[in-house]
Homo-oligomer: 176 residues x 2
Amino acid sequence: MHEKITHTESIYSGRVVKLVVHDVELPDGKSSKRELVQHPGAVAVVALDAEQNVLLVRQYRIAADQILLEIPAGTLNPGEDPEACAVRELQEETGYRPGQIEKIGGIFVAPGYTTEFIHLYLASDLIDSKLAQDEDEFLEVERLPLAEALKWVEQGDIIDGKSISALLLVARRLGM
Amino acid sequence: MHEKITHTESIYSGRVVKLVVHDVELPDGKSSKRELVQHPGAVAVVALDAEQNVLLVRQYRIAADQILLEIPAGTLNPGEDPEACAVRELQEETGYRPGQIEKIGGIFVAPGYTTEFIHLYLASDLIDSKLAQDEDEFLEVERLPLAEALKWVEQGDIIDGKSISALLLVARRLGM
């Protein structure tokens, strides 16, 4: 099933994403092109407080042209440990540092054309600890019962892929 | 929270994706750049047979550099109805046409940088009905109990985002 890269053209190298076009040799010997976004990877965090409320962030997403409700998340810095990144992003976006954090899985967001893999975490024992936000991020934090967030997932009020995957993975762990 | 696009530079227009860079005005009046993949959107289908087996496809994904197990999925043709696309893709990839199909939700796969939205469907009453596959797709169909697929999701053997979201949404509907 493997595809062999025979040539790579670099199209663009930007702040977050690079775009390349690979010429590939298919399993049957024919050739094809693969347009690929090269992305450094990311983390996303389901953060639960002692009352089983979850922290969500509400922000305008230009790609969706709407305000989306998502779990806290962010892109890996070069060489950054994913768990350290998860702690940093949670703190930057919500003002809380987790006393406990554990990996609950990971996802390729769109393996047809982007290399991005998101490491998913469950954070708890939240400690109030404000940090400066990223300069170009404008977001509001929302705290609501996890059970309510799961309803929003089922009803289509939460439509961000990583958030749905992570919230439903946590729900299964907790038997909810 | 809205961001206003002040200028758009088209970087690349390919077979599946286009890349643009927007100059935007942020809510505080400052400016920033947004690198954006413009994607026509897609569909993905959880297909269940009468014995509650699910159909998965195994294929090499160059972006992930590995063979992934995913639910059947595909990109919308221009102007194509998402449900019609779901029926077509299911048939192309697995050889089955659904007697019943219903929308179970949808996801933005990476709203930070791609416009792609995937419409998620649940298909049942499967009818054997072979169609030709896409020329550059090489995939194997796997049929396994839904309960087993859910275990694979929990264990990290299924790591494709749309597949995790859709399988767990179906599990909640069926009380599994």
